[in-house]
Amino acid sequence: MQSATWLVQLVDEPINMAGLLSQIDNPDVGAHAWFIGVTRRRTAGEITQTLFYDAHRSMAQAELERLASAASSRFGLRHLVIVHRLGEVPIGQASVVVGCSSPHRAAAIDALPWIMDELKKNVPIWKREHFVDGKTEWVHPK
């Protein structure tokens, strides 16, 4: 079993995606996969003006570290990056970036939805939607 490394960050500024790309480089991987969640203008017919994310920061960091460790083992990842932005995330900007690398293609791609599902279940981060009509609401998971 090869050793894995991961990087987990909570940031208050725009996520510098280009700067993250080389974090998962390794001569023994053949596949890099990235997922980027961005603020979308339209949700179920309503027009979003902007989103805010709040968190229990120290716990969110700890939960993300546990998630990174679990995902690395489960999928045999060589490197893994998870960055979540907090505060306001305007339309078109990234709230979350997950990137990982592995020797073969399937592991890196399959890891993305699993990590996102776990993140959405267990990491103490909350999204507040601000609609153009002035209404605001905490988003409830399905």
Binding site: H56, L119, W126, V139
Partner: protein
């Protein structure tokens, strides 16, 4: 004993505060703390069944003891990503 519980998101809005103090038995469990927080207001009572308690930044089982905890946090349904 009197203990502090950190609040987030809709729970914070429900009492307009990021922390509350509640009274629980000296051998209280996570379930006891959730029940005591629920007593604070009707809005909180409605929300607590959907919340988890975190003890020192880890989700706690209902039966986990809160004695000696450095931090308690009420975690409403999360929606990151």
């Amino acid at each position: 004993m009197r203990i502090n519980v950190l609040l987030f998101a809709a729970a914070r809005d429900a009492v307009d505060s990021d922390e509350v103090e509640v009274e629980v038995a000296d051998n209280a469990t996570a379930a006891d703390v959730l029940a005591a927080v629920g007593e604070l207001s009707p809005a909180m009572q409605a929300l607590v069944p959907y919340c988890r308690l975190a003890i020192d930044s880890r989700y706690a089982d209902a039966s986990a003891s809160v004695v000696g905890a450095k931090e308690l946090a009420l975690i409403p349904p999360v929606s990151g990503g």
